[in-house]
Amino acid sequence: MSKSLMYPVSSSYGMSWFSYDINKYTNLKTVAIPMAIFALSLLIVGMTWASTGLPVKPGIDFKGGTAVTLSTTDNEDAIRAYFAGFPLEPITKDVSSRLYLLKFTAMSADQNQQLVEKINARYPDANVDYIDSTFGATLQGQALIALLFSFIGMALVVFIAFRTFVPSFAVVSCAFIDMVGTAAGMTLVGIPLTLPTTAALLMLIGYSVDSDILLTMRVLKRQGKLEDKLAGAFHTGIIMTSTTLAAVLSIWVVSALGQIEILRDMAAVLLIGLLLDIMNTWITNASILKWYVEGKVS
């Protein structure tokens, strides 16, 4: 965490390292940055979609295949040699080089049975996770439906809570921009779409609107100067996102060091999403709100 988060209780806004200059951030020129990123994200997601049929490259959960985690003193070459003849993808390992993560693409039932026997013969303490490709396709369909319904549910809550079109629409579109950006980020960093990362995306739908809701509530339902309200909302909102980032970052560090794939990928997705959300909330959403409120006043 940088020093920029310092905001002693009694200080007035703007007296710290990192101040939120409303006029600087909420104008057309600045909004161009998140919009450019959004356009780029759309392009990346579109290309991935065209080639895989999904917004993010699917992992074993949706494609089918076998994932194996084993703790051994064997080196990578020895492991590779032992599993020669099986469709093994590149191996990843943890920092201590004791815990290896192996992935096999989908294979026939017989070959799969042989694989499991071979694993248990040499590495009885291995973790194995096999997903049949038909089952994977079913899961994939359901996951996409879950994402869609999740988003609709969130949008409904937002529209019911604010009951005015422009502010609600701003919150919902920021969440959408966050999601598309996160999907693109996953593709860039190489995180596949799996059940856990789908869950992380769903969680992001809920998380990313937190600060937007705070912002909108403060601006619409409080009295005072717009500038003060925006600054006040930022003052609170940025610390909210920082605490979440701190929690997620800790999970990411521990799970990346310890090779806990599920937690590592989930944390990484949330990190990407939350960082994008800071930009989209305080530039994109704030600009739309400012435009809306000023338009109403004049």
């Binding site: 310092m6 303490d125 899961l139 979440t244 999970i251």
Partner: protein, 507 residues
């Protein structure tokens, strides 16, 4: 939100006189505990601590929480069915239609609901539609899976197999999509067993034998389980009201059965020569031949038989058990493995440890960020305590409804993150410009903060709802824990924090 009149008056007074009424007086700790929200929080934390019962066992910290296989070690097997549940319309009599469909499709077909048939074969929609059309019926719905009652049979059979091996800590779950009555998958979870063992347990067939009593102490072999070609669902005899399990013998089996009944005299004196069924050396059924059947066996082979178990609920349960025994461990429908896996106990233990580290680190870093912001232990400590109590209550509730796996632990850690967010909203809202407000203004601001929190919570709950309802394996736990965390936060801990922080600030 409508403001209570009292509050409005206080605000008015504040504006008119230009000075604030006396700030909140220092209330005693006892006063604070009298507040029902704070009291509820304390009680729930205490109850949850009792429920999770943290204690040391063999020098290791353990709790009463149920852990998922990925943290405990064991294996799971999820299977889909070679079976279809189809809706149809037809003018033909049902019995007649099912029979001819069964013949045409060469599969067991049975009526499982009004205008709903279960076809125990993996037929695709087009083929099934054509078969229905050829038999003068129209296919209206098509779902892969089995009916609830067949699903329950499969569950019972699997549980039985697991029990005979004395494996503890086993779970058999039927996965049924919300809003349907069709079972899609069956999932077997066995703790402390590797996947090869689990597969052999699930696939194991018992040795089934039919014997007949010859003399006072002796019985003779009649046939083995391989002579039984099909076993039907338990049926109730409409006239005698007694329950029975129909089963069919192969031609050879029927001939053997008749030969034995004749050789040992069961056809003439059924009572003295009862027929018994034995599964893995345990007698599971024993009864004399029905007089009518005995007479028929004098002259011809009988392939279709029924084992009667008596009337009433006892008869019905016995029939259900007998059906399983007759199948000797074979499932009524063929299954396909959709997903299996194993987690070794040492790796599970390692994951558990790492989760604990990640959780502690998360709480710690969140604490550091909060301290960096407020620089005031009297704000930071209650915040962290509230956050911690959210986690404890969540673990307490989870103890009863949800096993903890990696995904649900991720959800708990996420609750730490969001929980603190909301406490920040409350604190900032209340502490506007760093001043401690009057009680009236305080209540107003707290309500405003809770408004924001409520909307934010609503979005998380609705975002997670699809996952909690759908059966996307482990993600259900993740969604349930997240939703619970939000509800506990909004309903209990956050309002209580509002009261606590007021007490702290007014000191």
């Amino acid at each position: 939100m409508a403001k209570p009149r009292k509050q409005k008056e206080a605000e008015k007074k504040e504006r008119e006189t230009g000075k604030r009424p006396e700030p909140v007086r220092k209330e005693g700790l006892r006063e604070l505990l009298k507040d029902w929200q704070v009291l509820l929080l304390v009680i729930l934390v205490a109850c949850s601590l009792i429920a999770i019962y943290p204690h040391f066992e063999n020098g290791k910290l353990t709790t009463a929480n149920q852990f998922g296989l990925d943290l405990q070690g064991g294996s799971w097997l999820q299977m889909s069915f070679d079976s279809v549940v189809a809706g149809f319309t037809s003018d033909r009599p049902i019995g007649n239609l099912t029979e001819s469909l069964a013949k045409r499709l060469d599969a067991e077909v049975s009526l499982v609901g009004p205008e709903q048939l279960e076809i125990r074969k993996a037929v695709n929609r087009t083929d099934l539609g054509q078969a229905f059309a050829a038999e003068g019926a129209t296919l209206t719905t098509y779902e892969r899976g089995v009916s609830r009652s067949t699903g329950e049979d499969i569950k019972r059979i699997l549980e039985q197999k697991i029990n005979t091996l004395g494996t503890k800590d086993a779970r058999v779950n039927l996965l049924t999509p919300v809003g349907t009555n069709i079972v899609r998958y069956v999932r077997v979870e066995l703790a402390g067993v590797d996947i090869n063992t689990a597969k052999s347990i699930v696939g194991r067939q018992g040795l089934f034998e039919i014997r007949i009593k010859t003399t006072e102490n002796e019985t003779a072999h009649v046939l083995y389980g391989n002579a039984i070609t099909s076993v039907g669902n338990p049926q109730q005899d409409p006239t005698k009201m007694s329950w029975g399990v129909p089963f069919t013998l192969s031609e050879q089996g029927a001939a053997d059965f008749r030969a034995a009944a004749n050789r040992y005299g069961a056809v003439n004196d059924p009572k003295a020569h009862p027929v018994s069924m034995i599964l893995d050396n345990v007698t599971v059924f024993s009864a004399p031949l029905d007089p009518t059947l005995a007479k028929e066996l004098l002259t011809q082979d009988v392939q279709r038989l029924s084992a009667s178990t008596g009337s009433g609920t006892t008869g019905m349960t016995q029939a259900q058990t007998l059906e399983i025994h007759l199948r000797a461990g074979a499932l009524p429908v063929a299954v396909q493995v959709a997903n299996f896996g194993q987690v070794s106990a040492p790796l599970g233990e390692y994951f558990k440890f790492m989760c604990l580290i990640a959780g502690l680190l998360a709480i710690l870093t969140v604490g550091v960020v909060i301290y960096y912001r407020y620089r005031e232990p009297s704000i930071v400590l209650p915040m962290m305590a509230t956050n911690l109590s959210e986690v404890i209550i969540l673990l307490g509730i989870a103890r009863f409804i949800q096993q903890l796996d990696l995904a649900s632990i991720a959800a708990i850690i996420a609750v730490v993150g969001t929980g603190i967010d909301q406490l920040v909203v409350i604190t900032d809202e209340v502490l506007h410009e760093g001043r401690v407000p009057s009680p009236a203004l305080y209540t107003k601001r707290l309500a405003r903060a809770l408004d924001i929190i409520l909307v934010a919570a609503g979005t998380v709950v609705f975002a997670m709802l699809p996952l909690a309802l759908m059966d996307l394996s482990t993600l259900r736990g993740f969604a349930i824990i997240t939703i619970l965390g939000v509800l506990v936060g909004v309903g209990i801990t956050r309002p209580a924090y509002g009261k606590i922080i007021m007490y702290v600030l007014s000191k």
